[in-house]
Amino acid sequence: MAQPLVKKDDDRDDEADYSPFLGIEKGAVLQEARVFNDPQLDPRRCSQVITKLLYLLNQGETFTKVEATEVFFSVTKLFQSRDIGLRRMVYVMIKELSPSADEVIIVTSSLMKDMTSKTDMYRANAIRVLCRITDGTLLTQIERYLKQAIVDKNPVVASAALVSGIHLLQTNPEIVKRWSNEVQEAVQSRAALVQFHALALLHQIRQNDRLAVNKLVTSLTRGSVRSPLAQCLLIRYTSQVIRESANNTQTGDRPFYDFLEGCLRHKAEMVIFEAARAITELNGVTSRELTPAITVLQLFLSSSKPVLRFAAVRTLNKVAMTHPMAVTNCNIDMESLISDQNRSIATLAITTLLKTGNESSVDRLMKQITNFMSDIADEFKIVVVEAIRSLCLKFPLKHRSLMNFLSNILREEGGFEYKKAIVDSIVILIRDIPEAKESGLLHLCEFIEDCEFTYLSTQILHFLGIEGPKTSDPSKYIRYIYNRVHLENATVRAGAVSTLAKFGAMVDALKPRIFVLLRRCLFDNDDEVRDRATLYLNTLGGDGAVVETGEDVKEFLFGSLDIPLVNLENSLKNYELSEESFDIDSVPKEVKTQPLAEKKAPGKKPTGLSAPPTGPPSTVDAYERLLSSIPEFANFGKLFKSSAPVELTEAETEYAVNVVKHIFDGHVVFQFNCTNTIPEQLLENVTVIVDASEAEEFAEVATKPLRSLPYDSPGQTFVAFEKPEGVPAVGKFSNMLRFIVKEVDPSTGEAEEDGVEDEYQLEDLEVVAADYMLKVGVSNFRNAWESMGADCERVDEYGLGPRDSLAEAVNAVINLLGMQPCEGTEVVPSNSRSHTCLLSGVYIGNVKVLVRLQFGIDGPKDVAMKLAVRSEDEAVSDAIHEIVASG
């Protein structure tokens, strides 16, 4: 019956009215499912009911445990039917229901029967179902059949078993690994798909064995792989092998490059592309290697298939980041892609062009982009804006036209994220390109005249307050700022008042006029705005006398609040009204290390749309500020080094504690980061009792207890030790967490009055020589080594005894010294018998140290090492030898 394809006509309207699933309801379908129990099965009817059940499940409907069990049991009855179509439906249904472990037993015998059936297709499907619902114990029972199935002459059966193997590898790796020989055989199969699946499984089984993967790749790249899919896999595995053996090549030729290059001439586009991409991603790829790959990608750019165009331009986009010159040949093709219907392709083309373009082509490019911007969605526009920002930083001379472009698009319609990206870009350009400052600030001023986003307005006002007073004519910004006080909501008005005050504080000439404006704000109908105006008038001396603004006032206006707002909020919530006023110094300054929820689910990877978790900033700067804010430690001098946190508790314990070792010239401070993971407890007066009996040179001088440690809100307690000045003293410390624990009522969140003193044993902690060494790299080791000179050089040889491998020995020495490996010399090529490793660092007392390590390994794995140290001080060179000798 011939029907028009998708024309909207009367027939079709009629059709749509009678959806076979119109008004479908779960309860009714479950009732219908009782036909599965009929003694005389009607296969057609049963298939229809299963279809309805599938429809429900595919719509996102869920069955309760009871419903699922009931349906499952009835479905198992259908194994009695000999109808082939119905049997196929039954297989799908069982997989969809994924029965629980205690129910699986009901179908195992039926499935096992099918698995050994003479009908190939029963075997294949039964394997897939069994593997879907099976657990480890059942798997050992059917393992024999699965191994047979892998080498079954029917490709469907073999594929079913192989793909099952890929899935089972996640749950029962030790069983699947035993199938290696069968899988190896299947890789040689004549059926393309079997080969593909077998190769994928074999690689997964062996992925941790570099030598085996290397062998696999070597043999397959010589032979012929039939399936293009398998060929793609092989290319991926090959590039992995190339990456790992990168350091092994003495000659200029890269192993397997010829294979990759050969794949560029394959007949399947998929393979060509895969090879081209693999080549572009090679480490340190040369332009000679790159050329053939770029050529095929260029051909793809004009392909009629959007997917190929997208793939090609995406790859070229990546290449452009590292080798912009290599991509310039494709510029003409990419320019034609700017008008591509698919906006993803157009955006990638634009951003690639922005990277490869030279200074002279910027203006032409901007013209093209202007036309293009009006018809793409915000998320693409953001990408373009970011590309333009980096282009501007690359060609600062072009700031005028690029800044104009940004200000033009800022005036057009757009959502918050887009506007924010533009504003951020302008701000960055103002900061980095001094000539762009004044025009940029004016663009921002114009923008806030008509800005619908409170957040952006306040951010810009804040920025204006900092940058505006430093310009040649600050007075021209006042009008824009004061307009906000008339026209905007309270949040923006308050921001504008603060900005005005900043101008007043910085520019004495403007002060009287600013006072007039601020006084007008005293009658604002919002209390925050009035409060701010009053506060600033008083601090700036607005009672008439125009005086020089004091330093402390400037500090108050421009200084940053170096307390994380989250911590301040928490402290304010915990603060109870009492005689004692709130003390801002009691707010912890350490950024919360990790929210508890994330810790508990480490296996959960961010998939899709969720943003990646952002790491806390744990720089030396942050530590230095934190420590200098504690009066007890203020006179310890400059912080030399802070170690990475060392865990003192196992994961998933009641109290999580890690320690950061802060090294000063004459002191060591242990910062214990504690987290209470029990909602029903509040800990108070938390300290760590540190026993230094195995660290003779250390004497405890101060402790700073943690007043309160509520649930899931990390806090710190500190212990400080004195040690001989400038001496790299080492020792071992045992630690005990001591605290008063109070029960918390989970319903009200209130803690009981009385607490009990308790202790909790922590793991030991060591201060080692590496703690006195800063990892500071040098860009050119040879130059640094030569210029250091041999005056304070010390050379000696050491036997390191039997070691597992050379790499292990090298790592051990690097960790012992705590120095920065240079020029990638920490990587030891597999199978090498000797290795040279270059290290650099700064030793306590700010003495630069360079180390050259030469390792050799002989037959019974005995490792010998020659250590050459150069530094600015021979005592330090000796000290390094001392560390190695005693380590």
Partner: protein, 147 residues
């Protein structure tokens, strides 16, 4: 991993929705994201003309087929090229089952067969079969002809 496969009708109602390795709480998010993507871009697109998008490390390839739109989402080894392959298999299997690019009604009429075909094509996030003739035979529990 093929993270999601979605069929929707022209009004954006879901006909088939299959997720692999996507947490339950993110599924709704994906569903509305994909439907919106289709509503924004699929107007006037020819049958089986592929559109492609990427979001962070995730790729999306989608198209229309008769009255229904099809979306596949993948990551890692399932990049846009692999997904194009997947969607090609899916659309040809659906056309094969329905005999032509389906109307919504026809799609629902053949729902059971379509589910079986999808079961042969994607298995727990990995592509298993690629040839439509082979899939047609497998759905009927017949061994493939090449064998």
């Amino acid at each position: 991993m093929i993270l999601a496969l979605l069929f929707a009708n022209s009004e954006g109602n879901i006909l088939v929705e299959r997720f692999n390795g996507v947490p339950a709480e993110e599924r709704l998010h994906w569903r509305s994201f994909l439907v919106k993507l289709g509503a924004d871009n699929l107007k006037g697109v020819k049958n089986e003309e592929l559109l492609v998008a990427s979001h962070k490390s995730v790729y999306i390839v989608y198209t229309v087929l008769g009255d229904v739109s099809v979306y596949v989402v993948g990551k890692d080894e399932y990049d846009e090229l692999a997904l194009a392959e997947v969607i090609f298999v899916i659309t040809s299997a659906v056309k094969d089952v329905c005999g032509k690019p389906p109307t919504e009604r026809l799609f629902l009429d053949k729902y059971g067969k379509i589910c079986l075909s999808l079961d042969e094509i994607i298995w727990k996030g990995y592509m298993e079969n690629t040839d439509k003739d082979r899939i047609r035979r497998l759905v009927r529990l017949k061994p493939p002809t090449e064998f």
